[in-house]
């Protein structure tokens, strides 16, 4: 692969995505996330705004199974405008180092809010093995 399907890549300009992980008990877990991406990789970070047991859940799940689904979408009351782009793949926890620095720089560039809410946890890298785009009408 070389990135998401061209006619769905615009959905990745959205500000929030949804990340699903699967725990050792095979139960899914889902949270909204800020993210950045390039090619077939999506990065998100455990940041200051999201300190909760659910973040530990997210990381525990990834340690247990690595399986990930991620989605960005456009909701609209005009259902002919509905569209989404799903990524499935595997996740890796990046506690620090060059890739952490680069991902956090990209997140700060996309979200000015990170100037007040620092990233103080690991970065999660999603290696996308499959993109699936859907739209109610042709996009």
């Amino acid at each position: 692969m070389s990135g998401p399907p061209e006619n769905f890549a615009w959905l990745l300009r959205t500000r929030v995505g949804y990340l699903a992980t699967v725990g050792a008990d095979n139960g899914p877990h889902i949270i909204p996330v800020c993210f950045t991406w390039a090619g077939d990789v999506v990065w998100t970070a455990v940041d200051g705004k999201t300190k909760s047991s659910n973040d530990l859940q997210r990381l525990r799940d990834i340690e247990a199974t690595r399986s990930i689904a991620f989605i960005v979408d456009r909701w609209d009351e005009d259902w002919s405008r509905l569209a989404w782009l799903q990524a499935r793949g595997s996740a890796t926890i990046i506690p620090d180092g060059k890739e952490w620095d680069k991902a956090v720089a990209a997140l700060k560039s996309k979200y000015s809010q990170y100037s007040d809410t620092p990233v103080d946890g690991p970065v999660i890298r999603i290696d996308v093995s499959r993109w699936v785009g859907w739209a109610a009408d042709a996009v």
Copy 2:
């Protein structure tokens, strides 16, 4: 339980939620869904707007594992306003009958779009075993 935590129930007024299922391969799958709810049950339906292989995926996953996570959230550029409510539980496919009728009536009542886009597939019932609410600030 008797429904979602009181101070997070307002999030269920949102128009779109995100549903994560887990397949027989333990890989998660996630899609945006229209939904209705009451107490500890959330209903969503396979409708005319969502005919794709992903709907079959959703149903296949539920047949395989029944494990479900569902989330509704409020995104805001002001991160002090961020909030979400997650439900975890098990899913049941309702192909027809009284519960299907009731769920579809509730969906039609919430979404006027269903007058043009009929529900022509099964209803999915989610029995919530755990609600988790999160907000950046107190709600």
